[in-house]
Every structure is written in structure tokens, then in C-alpha cells.
Symmetry: C2
Subunit: 578 residues, 2 copies
């Protein structure tokens, strides 16, 4: 991981490849890497679809090693959805295989004049880029199938569906999982539109002939990894709840807590929750011959993923995640798990962010386009996106554009990006993260739900403003650092609760790179990344006015607790005072 | 004009009327009035379609008097198109009749819960508000016809078409002209969406039984007005060019100057210009029994308007203005005057800003939706808006949303509002105004074309950056003041060139109100308005990053002069340093 692959899609005579040493970006990984390149090389005021934007794909610092949970990949750019800096993060196989091939990042630059599609093939022998317009408007599943036919099944793919080709602002980038299915998505912020604007349909990576990345101190590393895994296994969230029920274990928990946004954030509890809970989902999966406990990449020991079969026992989609089940489910008043799974499949295949799509369908329901609870109507709306109809282009542009086109006032977005599955009025800490994260509304940027609801890392009362700023601040700093390691964010539960598990993680980094990082260094890294990102955003035109939730959260109390969001604007402005 | 009519559309039990003294807003008119109320009473961060936004309709300081040219009305709100403060300005009759009834402004506040439409009737006896859902989705023409049937023909109407009802961001508010046709539009910034969100379809004003507003010093006022009229008549622009050919006299001039944006700002000269010039248009009007020289309101002595008949000699629309002929014509590569007139009629009837619509059709052409030059395709696109289809909602949301939905990079907007009919590369001064006006791209906010191209008020070379900042600054200050008087902006040609005409205007104000305003006071008023507006925008989230033209104007040279926009960002940031 000492080199950068740069592909200039705008070069005269076709795409131009250059491989450069990691240079000034040495020591960075994942989000730290993507945000550093975007900050340094992309003009903040440029159009996100212009030749001046760059799409950066970076494995984490520990990706491609024997470290458990190290398979996350970061994808960064200037976001067409928010207009600010973006890091979207996915699981699946690409991070590990790219890292083993030695690439610290792929940077896709420039923009071709003609409207051709390209595929990129990377293996130990080098890089090949070919025009391939036969891929046009293929879904992610068909795209990956074609790649398998061409390159065999020892590959990992990074691809876009029709949404990315159409440069829609809710377009995701798909990463294949262990079964070589395009189910793990860098979902947020329209990263798929940016790679689409550059004409890259798919990147195929084959790490045949490579080996695990080797640590500087092998024994020390192996021991630390063992302690790390032990820590994950003994924590109730990563050792029991997530493996058993997946992320969707949260449905019952958030619903119980009254923080489960229902009917486009009108209520905090959903009557149909039990029908779409993780417990129900896992039972359906097991019963139909799917899989309730499964990893999304080699080296995962939490195994919160799964495989969802339809009623006839045929593969339909991967186990829909909590955020997806909420977005397409409770948020839209839909309690039919099969329909939600179909929506998950459609989003994955067309290449769309499930959170943004669920929120957008909710806004369409608010506009009266279809009724709350109309699952078939929701499926039709997502299909419209795949077809590229005018309505599909509205929906595929996300909740903010849909709200604008239909004159809707109640649109749950921050910086143009839809809010995830926790009502900020009933879970104040996550509201602070939504409002202030440089990414726009993003639960993963500082998951205060852990401490507000799950009582991980202590407890801060979710219904009160006290302590939330500090909570979100600390989590945002920690997350920026974790997102740089390639580690799955779910390690945070154990890391927050168990000092020895955090130490094991630090020990792994030190053993691998021959460093002596302290906890203070980790904090400094997180702050440094956030500062870069906020500086980019400021230069792109963001001010503290953009670090706010939509007005209605302050005015409309949400049942059952009948609370509003009580944190003052002036307090939000102190999140990054450190 | 010493009272304010406030209508709270959100009151329990239906709309609530209150008439309050002008109080702290005394001495303000037009844009000064609207921007003061918005600044003081509307939370800058509120949603433009929320109950917290207000729609302010204000005649100018001299409206309703014997002063020539005093029929402009200002309509202000927080704009759903730009997200900033907005003053859109229209001719026609409402300003005069409202002023004579004594209203300094109508302020429409709140938001009804139900989705009903209301009509407001104002005469000397008071105000009546009635629910009238029979008006739903009527065009402006049919709406006015219905009002004539109900209230007779001694009325003036302020109304919206389907676009405003649908709360589309390019929706205008129509004002009726002397023939009681809805042809004079407060076009820009989506003011129609804001009144639409409040459920007000039409305001009918009948000034029967009122008299001209009387000045404090009658004789002094009458004399000043005579000198003022004399000045307008002797200036070549207001005395000859505008009466003979209307605003569209500019087509040949700008085309000759190479500053006529063609094919979505790809070129600065249009091969078909002669076919859609003011000269051609006037000849067609005269030949077909229309009218080439006509005023848009009583008291107009320039008479730059006209009436456009179709091939069979039947009324089609008012004389399409230069900006409209450009937007739907040259900008889209269309050189068929009849088709352009049809587009003008459709925009007026559906209630859409012609500039935004032409620019949006240009972006749709850029996206390949229809071909450049396809006039019938353009007509169909505008009809889609009237029908409220998904495609229509994209188009009706303006150029920025259309660009986003179709993944187009080249979108000519500033602060989300489409650029008017002058290429900023070939007319640098107007580029400064586009970039920095608090209104978004707006030629009327500081019409540097006058000095760059028409050599009015001196001459500043349009192709060079030198002197443009100061030019735009001075014009923006002067314009903010003029927009407060109710005076048509076209008086500026004579006022800029002839000191005695400016003095006559000042004399009218002083004679009317018994004041001793000096030129310095006028400058202070203009600066004060701009400062209020910029403060509102800052609190709404705007920074100097938003005071920029789209990138491509700096990168792509425009033929025939092959110039780029050469004014540096740092220079743009000095426009409001006074």
C-alpha cells in the first residue's frame, strides 16, 4: 500500500494511467486518505460533476492484513448531493484485495468528452482500461455477472448501476461481498454520480498471486488481533445481538425508545415494528433457507450480515440492514418485510442509497404522490429511477430535490442529505451529529445512539440536551479515526466499553507499522480529518447556518415522548471547539 | 399609503385580516419596503414554503400619484429558488390602484392547514377573503376572466397560475395590464410558489371612488413631473428606441456586441437574431393589427410594451420582452417569433418566469432531452409544467434543479437563479451584478449593460475587467433606490445621462413628501437596502462563495470575442465595500 493508481479519464486519446508513490499521503488510510486528497486536489467550488472533481477509493490502514474487521473501504469526492466533501464507506471484498495489490488508493480524475462507458481491470500484473458500452444501463447484478464471465470468480467488483450512469445525486457505488454479489454499498452523497460522470462503470480487482500484507512485528500483531477478536466476541452487541439479528436488531430497540421515525418523522413509534424487526427478519431467513448470521467480507468476526430468500426459497437480496428496513419500512408506514427486501434489492441493483431512497419515498408520500403504507407504490417509484423516467430522475435525485419539485415543506435533510433511522428529538445526541457532521445527516459520523440508547460508552439521557454536544464531538473525532483504519465501525461498541479492546486496536496499528501511537495520536488524527473536511466545506460555501436540523424538529413535538429538539444553535456551533 | 394590510392565512378558523399603521416602515416603498419587512419579520433560515415566510406586496413611494412611470410594484419574500431574500418587480396596474387605496403594502403571512384556494377582494370599503376552489389549476388568463365576471372590469388583479399552486420554484405572480390581461409578471425567484403555499390564488383590487394621491406641494410636484417627462422623451433610449421596438431592440445590439448568449451560453452571437429582433417583432405586430408601442400601465410615457397577434390577427400575447425572446429564442437556438410568442403566452398563463424557463429549456437541451432549435419541443416542455407532470415539475423548478435531475454540469445560474440575456464574458459589468446581487443572477439589479454596451452613463469596455466592480456597485446602489420609488427602471437611462432628469425625480419625491432629500440620501437608501438584503442572506447561509459565476465562465472562452470572465474572486468580494 505504498502507491496510488491515478486514472485520468479526461486525457486526450482516452484514459491515462499513472502509478505514483504515496508520497505526502503516507500514513493515511480510508477516510483520512480520501479527505486529504479531496482537500488538497479538488477546488471546493467546482461542480461535483465536472472534470475538476476526483473520485478517491481508499482501503483502510489495516485493510488487506490479518486484522479482523478490516474490510471497509472509503470512497470520497465532492458530493453532488450535499455540495460538500464526502466520504462514503462500504464493506465487502474490494478493500482487502485492493490493499493486497499494494494500492493505497485509486484516484479517478478528469472527465471524458464522449459519453462512453469504461471498465477497469486491476491485478498483480497491472491495469487495463477498456471501453465497454455493452454495460450501458445494466444493473449492478448483471454487471457483476458479466465481469464474472470475463474475468472468472476470483475477483471483487466496484460498480455502478443505471443511477450512477444517469449521474443522479442519490447514486451509490456497489462493492461485491464474499459471494460476489453487489450488496455492500458506499451509499451516501451520490458518489455513484461522480464515478458515473467520469464514465467508469466497473472496477474489477483480482488479487490472485498476492498475499496478506505483513506487519512489521508479526507476533505482536497476531497477539493484538487475538485480543481484539476476544474483545469483540465478549461484548453483548458485537458478540450476541449483531450476529443473531444483524443491524436490524435495532428496530425493536429504537421503537421501544420512541426514537423510530415513522411516517416521514411524524411519530417515534411504529405499530408495525414487530413485523419488520431483526428478530422477525432472522426467523424468516432461517426458515426459508437463507442465512441470518454471515460476514460481508473475509475476516469479519461479528457477522451481522445475512442472506434473504423470497417466499419460494430463492435468493432475493442480502439481509436488509436496519437503516434500509427503517427507511423503506417504518418511515413510509410499510410493514411488509418481503416488499422491503424487494426495495433493498432494487436499490442495490439500480445503485441507490437505501437511506436516501426511503426518505425520498417518504417525501413523495408527504406530497401525496402515493399513500403512506403503499409498498407496491414505493416499489414502482424505485423502478422509475431504474428506467430513467422524469419521475425517476426526481426520486433518484434524493429527498431535497423531490421536496422542491413537489413543493413539500417537511423534508428531513441536513446539507441536502436525508436523515437516517433515529429521530433527533428522541435521540438528541444523534441530532447533534446529523446537524454538524461535515457529511450531512449521517448516523455513522458520530453514532451517539450507542450512548443515548444502547448505554455503550456510558449513558447520556437521549431526551435531554445536556451532554450531547460533548458526546457527539468525541464520537465524531473517534469515528473519523476509525474510518481511517479500514475497521468496521461496529468495533466501536467494544472499543468504547472495553479499554483493553481499544488498546488491542492501537497495538495492531503500532505492530503493523512499527509505530508508537498513543490514544492522543488517535484523537489528533480524528480532529485533523474533521478540520480538513470542515475547511473544504467552508470554502465550498458552508457556514454554521448549514449545521442545523430542519426547522420542524424544533417546532413539532414527536410522540410518544412529545419532545422537540432542544439543543440551541449556539451550542451546535461549539461542537468543533476543541 | 399609511397603512399595511396583513392577512394571516394560518389563523384558526380561516384567514384573518388586520390593518395596521405603517409605523416603523414609514418612508419606505417598493423594494425598500419588502426587504425591510422580510429582514425584520422572516427568520432567515426558515423554509421558504413554511408558515414563517411572508409574501410582501408593496407599491413604490410615488405609485398612485401623477408621477409618470410610477406603476411598478415590488413583491418580496424568502425565495424558494435562491434560498435568499427576493424582490421581484412588475409593471401593470396593481401598484397604482393599491397605492390609491392607501395601502403601503399587503403582507400575506402564515399558512392554512387545509389545501384550499382563496381570493382576496380589496376596494375602498374594505377587504373580503373567500374560499374559491373553482379557481384550482386555472391559468392566469382564465382566472382574470372569472374575476372580471364577478367584479366587473374596473379592477386590477394579482394572481398565480398552476405553477404557483404547485409551489414550483420558477412560479411567477401575474399583474394585469391596462387591458386587464395577466401579462406583467413579478417573475423571478419563485414568488408565485410562496403565495401559492399560502393558498392565495388571486387578489382583486378595485380603486373605484379613490383619487390620485396628492403631493404636499402640488405645483412643485407637477412641474417636476413635467421636467421628468421631458427628460425621458428627449433621451434616445427612452424617447426613441424603446417606444419604437420595445425592450427587444436589444437583440440586434447585443448580438452585434457578441454578448448574446446562444445555445446555453456556448456562443455570443446567434445566426437567427434578425428573425427575432425588436425591429422584426414590431413590424409583425403592426402588420397583424397588434400594437408595437404601448404602455403597460397608466402614466407610462415610454411605452416599450406592445401587443402581439398571431398569424390570423388574433391576440396571442403581449409583446414578448427582450429577455423572453432571448431566453426562449437565441438561448435555445430558436428563431421562430411565433413560437416564441406562444412560449411567452404559456409562461404568462401557467405563471412562470420566462427567463428561468428559457434557461431551463436550454439546460434540458444540453441534457439531450430535446434538440437545440426545437421550438415545438420547447412548447411541449412548458405545457408539461402546466399539466403538473413529473417532467413538468422538474422544468418548473428551474434550471438548477433540472441540471441536477439530468446530471448536467453546464447550468447557468447564480444562487440557483438563471442568468438573463447578456453573456458575462462579453459584458463583464453585468457579470459582476449577476455574481454579487443578493437576488441571484439578475440583470435588473445593476444594469451594467447600459454603460458597457449602450454607452449610457459613460462607457466601460465590456470585454475588460477594469472598472466593472465600481460600475456594478454604483448601479446596484442606484437600482435599490429606484426600485423603492415605484419608478420603472427604464427611467435610469435618462437619469444616468441627464443630471436634470435625476434632479426632477428627486424633486418629485421632495415635493410629494415635503422632504429635502439630496443625492447622498438616495445613495444612502440604496446602500441601506443592499445591506439589509445581504445581512438576511448571510443569516440564511450565504457567503462570498455564493457571489460567484458558474466555473465555466472562467474556463470556456465565448466566441466571437473568445473571452472568458476575467474578474477575480477577490475583486468580486469588494463590490459591497463602500
Amino acid at each position: 500500500m505504498d502507491k496510488i493508481l491515478r486514472i485520468n479519464m479526461g486525457a486526450k486519446g482516452g484514459p491515462e494511467i499513472s502509478i505514483t508513490p504515496i508520497g505526502e499521503y503516507a500514513g493515511l488510510g480510508g477516510r483520512g486518505f480520501t479527505s486529504a486528497i479531496i482537500s488538497k486536489e479538488v477546488p471546493p467550488a467546482c461542480h461535483p460533476l465536472s472534470a475538476f472533481n476526483k473520485l478517491v477509493i481508499a482501503p483502510g490502514l489495516l485493510s488487506g492484513t490479518r486484522a479482523a474487521m478490516s474490510g471497509r473501504i472509503s470512497i470520497g469526492c465532492k458530493s453532488p448531493l450535499t455540495g460538500g466533501i464526502k466520504e462514503a464507506n462500504a464493506g465487502g471484498q474490494p478493500s482487502q484485495v485492493l490493499a493486497r495489490l499494494g494500492y493505497a488508493a485509486i484516484v479517478i480524475e478528469g472527465k471524458p468528452e464522449a459519453d462512453d462507458l469504461y471498465k477497469v481491470f486491476i491485478n498483480k500484473d497491472g491495469i487495463k482500461i477498456e471501453k465497454d458500452n455493452s454495460l450501458r444501463m445494466l444493473g449492478n447484478y448483471a454487471t457483476v455477472e458479466k465481469m464474472k464471465e470475463e474475468y472468472g470468480d476470483k475477483i471483487a467488483c466496484i460498480s455502478i448501476g443505471p443511477a450512477g450512469e444517469m449521474r443522479l445525486a442519490a447514486a451509490s457505488i456497489a462493492c461485491t461481498d464474499m459471494e460476489l454479489r453487489p450488496t455492500r454499498h458506499a451509499g451516501r452523497g451520490g458518489v455513484g454520480a461522480v464515478i458515473g460522470s467520469k464514465g467508469v462503470k466497473v472496477i474489477v480487482i483480482d488479487d490472485t498471486g498476492t498475499t496478506m500484507r505483513e506487519p512489521k512485528d508479526h507476533d505482536r500483531f497476531i497477539k493484538a488481533n487475538a485480543r481484539f477478536i476476544e474483545g469483540l466476541r465478549k461484548h453483548p452487541v458485537t458478540g450476541e445481538a449483531l450476529p443473531a439479528y444483524g443491524t436490524n436488531v435495532l428496530t425493536n430497540i429504537l421503537n421501544e425508545a420512541g426514537g423510530y421515525p415513522t411516517y416521514n418523522f411524524r411519530e417515534g413509534r411504529f405499530a408495525g415494528a414487530a413485523k419488520i424487526s431483526g428478530e422477525t427478519e432472522a426467523a424468516m431467513e432461517t426458515e426459508r433457507g437463507g442465512l441470518a448470521t454471515h460476514g460481508c467480507h473475509h475476516g469479519c468476526v461479528i457477522r451481522c450480515s445475512g442472506i434473504f430468500h423470497d417466499k419460494d426459497g430463492h435468493y432475493l437480496t442480502k439481509q436488509p440492514e436496519y437503516e434500509t428496513v427503517w427507511a423503506h419500512g417504518g418511515n413510509c408506514g410499510i410493514d411488509d418485510m418481503d416488499k422491503i427486501a424487494m426495495l433493498d434489492f432494487l436499490d442495490d441493483d439500480i445503485g441507490l442509497d437505501t437511506i436516501e431512497m426511503g426518505a425520498t419515498v417518504g417525501v413523495a408520500m408527504e406530497a401525496g404522490l402515493i399513500k403512506f403504507g403503499d409498498a407496491d407504490g414505493a416499489i414502482e417509484l424505485i423502478k422509475e429511477v431504474g428506467k430513467g423516467t422524469a419521475l425517476g430522475r426526481i426520486i433518484g435525485s434524493g429527498a431535497a430535490v423531490t421536496g422542491k419539485a413537489f413543493g413539500v415543506e417537511k423534508v428531513p435533510v441536513v446539507k441536502g442529505q436525508a436523515l437516517p433511522a433515529y429521530d433527533p428529538r428522541a435521540v438528541h445526541g444523534i441530532g447533534v451529529t446529523y446537524a454538524t457532521s461535515p457529511m450531512g445527516a449521517d448516523h455513522t459520523a458520530g453514532y451517539a445512539v450507542a450512548t443515548n440508547i444502547l448505554k455503550v460508552g456510558g449513558f447520556v439521557d437521549p431526551l435531554k440536551p445536556e451532554g450531547q454536544i460533548e458526546l457527539s464531538r468525541n464520537l465524531q473525532i473517534a469515528t473519523a479515526a476509525i474510518d481511517s483504519t479500514g475497521m468496521c465501525l461496529f468495533i466501536a461498541f467494544a472499543v468504547l466499553d472495553q479499554p483493553e479492546t481499544f488498546e488491542a486496536l492501537l497495538e495492531m496499528l503500532n505492530a503493523f507499522y512499527g509505530l508508537n501511537l498513543t490514544p492522543d495520536d488517535v484523537v489528533a488524527l480524528g480532529k485533523n480529518i474533521l478540520t480538513m473536511e470542515r475547511t473544504f466545506n467552508r470554502l465550498a460555501g458552508f457556514t454554521n447556518v448549514h449545521d442545523r436540523l430542519p426547522d420542524f424538529f424544533k417546532r413539532e413535538a414527536v410522540p410518544p415522548h412529545n419532545v422537540t429538539f432542544e439543543i440551541k444553535d449556539e451550542e451546535l456551533d461549539t461542537v468543533f471547539n476543541w
